[in-house]
């Protein structure tokens, strides 16, 4: 654990011996006169990145703002020797109207030499009983993502934009889902990141006028920030699936071909900095339909221009941080079937 400085560990709270975690938590809440601990679920955040502790403590803090839970923060360093496991406890309390309202506990583990066995055992031993397990797996789905572990997960969050080996990761994910023992639903942050943009685009096509333009589309552009190409490609895949198009990758780039044989040129543009997904633009000869993020605000502008007709609407934009995305998905629940319809097409574009 040499490369983890004391200051990076300090954020985790009070260090406790591994066997005393439950006792220490009891003491922690015993000292709380407000008795405001509440829990609706277990949320585990797993990472193998040594620099992730601070970021993930903030992530849990953000999620607990709306979802009281027992948080497990796990940093596994499978290749580090000698093997050693350490634990810390702390609490996230949220203030509402000036008084302490929701308090959630966080137990953090740093597992040097942490292989699948150890990770699994740490998770099993520290779950709050009867409550569902939400697991946020950061980075590639490594060997530690094993069957005994994922068979207890109820909701799995991954982020395919951060995968170094997406082919292997998608294979692992699809294999896991096909197992009888797997009951979890998968949520890919790259897909969730476009939720509001997709909703806004759907809103643009609520009118007959706009719908008539759909078969006449010739060009589509999606703009994104660096590191979010997968999220943009998932948008392309979504449009393709919804319009029943096939994909054509030619020298000029990406193209969607409708059932009627119409070609829609697709441009996916990396704008460098900014919000993960910044805009979607659709053009026919007569229409320009777009949804663009209004910079510096929580809203996106949905714009439909067809000949003389112009309508504009402000709609909620996608949430910026991973914590907000996960939090809103926990509130919304919802299925995963739509996402898995996109995956084969996405894999064709990777």
């Amino acid at each position: 654990m040499s490369n983890l400085s004391d200051s990076s560990l300090a954020i985790l709270g009070q260090e406790v011996p591994l066997g005393r975690v439950d006792k220490a938590l009891k003491e922690l809440w015993g000292a709380d006169a407000a008795r405001t601990r509440a829990s609706l679920m277990n949320i585990a955040v797993y990472s193998e990145d040594p620099d992730s502790l601070e970021r993930n403590t903030q992530l849990l803090g953000e999620i607990t703002r709306e979802h009281s839970c027992r948080g497990l923060l796990i940093l596994a360093l499978p290749d580090q020797t000698p093997p050693q496991a350490r634990a810390w406890i702390t609490a996230h309390c949220q203030l509402y109207g000036g008084h302490k309202s929701v308090c959630s506990e966080q137990i953090s583990f740093v597992l040097a030499g942490g292989k699948a066995d150890q990770v699994r055992n740490i998770v099993f031993a520290h779950l709050d009983s009867d409550l569902p397990l939400v697991f946020c797996w950061q980075g590639d789905l490594t060997e530690n993502f094993d069957e005994r572990l994922y068979s207890v997960i109820d909701m799995l969050f991954v982020d395919s934009s951060t995968w170094c080996k997406p082919e292997t990761d998608f294979d692992r994910l699809q294999f896991a889902i096909s197992q009888n023992t797997a009951r979890f639903r998968v949520y890919d942050l790259s897909w969730l990141r476009s939720h509001s943009l997709r909703t806004a685009l759907a809103t643009c096509f609520q009118s007959k006028l706009a719908l008539e333009q759909l078969p006449l589309l010739r060009r589509m552009e999606i703009t994104h920030a660096s590191g979010h190409r997968v999220a943009a490609l998932l948008m392309v895949a979504w449009v393709a699936v919804r319009l029943k198009c096939t994909l054509d990758i030619c020298q000029k780039g990406l193209c969607l071909i409708t059932a009627e044989g119409q070609r829609i040129e697709v441009l996916v543009t990396d704008n460098g900095a900014g919000d993960p997904l910044q805009g979607i633009f659709m053009h026919s000869d007569a229409a320009n339909i777009s949804v663009t993020r209004v910079s510096g605000s929580q809203y996106a502008k949905a714009r439909v221009e067809i000949g003389d007709h112009l309508s504009e609407e402000m709609l909620p934009a996608d949430l910026g941080s991973d914590g907000e995305l996960i939090g809103s998905q926990l509130a919304r629940l919802g299925g995963q079937s739509l996402y898995f319809q996109m995956v084969p097409m996405l894999r064709g574009m990777l």
């Binding site: 405001t36 509440a38 609706l40 607990t64 703002r65 709306e66 979802h67 009281s68 949220q94 509402y96 309202s101 929701v102 308090c103 939720h195 509001s196 997709r198 909703t199 806004a200 685009l201 759907a202 809103t203 096509f205 609520q206 009118s207 007959k208 006028l209 719908l211 008539e212 759909l214 078969p215 919804r242 319009l243 029943k244 209004v294 605000s297 929580q298 809203y299 502008k301 007709h309 309508s311 504009e312 609407e313 402000m314 709609l315 909620p316 509130a331 919304r332 919802g334 739509l338």
Partner: protein, 512 residues
């Protein structure tokens, strides 16, 4: 794409989104519009739940341009919006607001309104749904309905709907309610008539059905075999502030709160499981509860079961309060009750012999609305009963404030002796769900726009409730020997006669 269906629709389905709509508010310069309706619509915009190409038209008497109207609403939105005020969003939302000056009585004003609405549809490229919201004093309902009919606005444009939302009070007795219903039904179909009861829009009221019908552990006990009695309390720590006395003195606690809000809560607690979740399936069951209320014969029986009272001078929250009859705009000889307590029986198989005690009062010690279910004692308790402080279990559903559910049960106290004590298991919405609940009006406006009438009162519910209430009012005001008007000091929990109502049955009001 011959059928012209939105292929991206799937994304919208999860969102409870209504189709394109124009909302017309009659009485739009009033308090309700400023404090509740516009902030509710704005907050729907914050969440992206407004229909596309949405418009609001404010209809009132004073002349003012759109931008003045918008600026006034913006100011009040800053004060009243649940999720704060965002200037960028308002600049877009505000553009959807328009003002239309007219007298309610002037048919020309409706014709020009129609022209305005048609011009919006033209802008949209297709007709949109229309929702007429009556936020005016009820004496104008007749006129507004008549003029909507005369101008043809009650008919939807194309295949779109035209709907009406009626604010409370819906009548002041059965006769006036029937008259209003007649007027409304000559103008709109019942399926397009939405009678607001904002209690039904509250999260905890909606949760009553979930609690009962989605959890197996309650429903098997939800009957006269296990339940001793039910209490519904609505207490307010205010009196007639802000000139409310003028209206209140013509209504009273029974008409203002019991006929609508508290009977709705009673229905949700006592109803049978609905056969489905359609608006009518739910309302069919609710209305049966009101129809099953045991009727009283004459003033004597009313007096035995209903206590009415007025507050006298006292103190609430450390502030001295005058008595009801000394309040601003209240008749000094007023015979209107500021407090009422009732003992009701729902004469069904399920509830035979279980009293439902309902109380509502002004100038009580705190603001709270809650339902408490009190279970019977176990048939035999194998412990020394004298060591117990209260032996029965209770389930409390807090409607407001501090929405939540708590359960009271017995537990052994630590120590050598076998002492039992009642302990409380508490679920608070605000500590379990960080997300704030939407305001009742947000939910109700969205439901009205998307055609879900479950949380609105149906004609027969309203009329049956008035039939019952009228009998009490009749005994109070029309017969020879009237039941007494009791008194309670402001800041107390009501008149001693209300305590005696329960003492006579061997019970006492729950301590709030």
């Amino acid at each position: 794409m011959p059928d012209l269906e939105n292929p991206f629709q799937e994304t919208l389905i999860q969102r409870h989104r209504a189709e394109s709509c124009t909302v017309v508010i009659f009485g739009a310069t009033g308090d309700l519009t400023h404090r509740k309706l516009i902030p509710a619509l704005y907050n729907l915009a914050v969440d992206g739940d407004l229909p596309p190409q949405f418009k609001v038209v404010g209809f009132a008497r004073r002349d003012k341009p759109d931008d003045v109207f918008r600026a006034e609403l913006e100011e009040s939105n800053k004060k009243n919006s649940r999720q704060g005020h965002d200037a960028a969003l308002w600049s877009s939302f505000g553009q959807s607001i328009h003002y239309h000056q007219s007298e309610f009585q002037d048919v020309e004003g409706y014709k020009s309104l129609k022209t305005l609405l048609d011009s919006f549809d033209k802008e949209r490229g297709a007709p949109a749904n229309r929702l007429f919201y009556l936020a005016s004093a009820p004496e104008f309902f007749d006129q507004i309905m008549l003029k909507l009919r005369e101008s043809g606005l009650n008919e939807g444009a194309g295949d779109k709907f035209s709907r009406v939302v009626c604010e409370k009070p819906f009548g002041k007795d059965l006769k006036t309610a029937q008259h209003l219903n007649e007027v409304v039904s000559q103008t709109f179909h019942e399926k397009d008539t939405y009678r607001i009861d904002h209690y039904l829009g509250k999260e905890t009221a909606q949760n009553i059905m979930v609690l009962r019908f989605a959890n197996l552990m309650f429903e098997p006990l939800w009957n006269s075999r296990y339940i001793d009695h039910v209490e519904i309390t609505c207490s307010e720590n205010l009196g007639m502030e802000g000139g409310r006395g003028g209206y209140y003195d013509t209504a009273g606690a029974l008409r203002d709160m019991v006929q609508n809000h508290l009977f709705q809560l009673l229905s949700l607690v006592a109803m049978e499981p609905p056969t489905g979740l359609s608006a009518d399936a739910v309302r069919d069951e609710k209305v049966k509860v009101i129809r099953s209320l045991r009727r009283w014969r004459g003033a004597k029986e009313v007096a035995e079961n209903v206590i009415r009272a007025q507050y006298t001078a006292g103190s609430v929250d450390g502030v001295d309060r005058v008595g009801y009859r000394q309040e601003d705009r209240v008749n000094p000889q007023s015979n209107t009750e500021s407090y009422v307590a009732l003992r009701l029986y729902v004469d069904t198989w399920r509830w035979q012999g279980v009293p439902f005690y309902i109380r509502m009062g002004k100038q009580l010690p705190k603001k709270a609305t809650e339902i408490s279910i009190h279970f019977k004692n176990p048939p035999q308790i194998p412990f020394a009963t004298e060591t117990m402080n209260g032996t029965s279990n209770s389930l409390v559903i807090r409607i407001q404030p501090d929405e939540g559910i708590s359960m009271g049960m017995l537990s052994k106290t630590p120590g050598q002796s076998l002492l039992l004590q009642s302990v409380k298991m508490d679920f608070r919405y605000s500590s379990s769900f960080g997300k704030a609940s939407p305001e009742a009006y947000e939910r109700l406006l969205l439901d009205a726009m998307s055609g879900d009438a479950t949380l609105f009162a149906r004609r027969d519910e309203v009329e049956n409730a008035w039939t019952f209430i009228d009998e009490i009012e009749h005994a109070w005001h029309n017969e020879g020997e009237q039941p007494p008007m009791c008194e309670y000091p402001a800041g107390s929990w009501g008149p001693k006669e209300a305590d005696e109502l329960l003492h006579a049955d061997g019970r006492a009001w729950r301590r709030l």
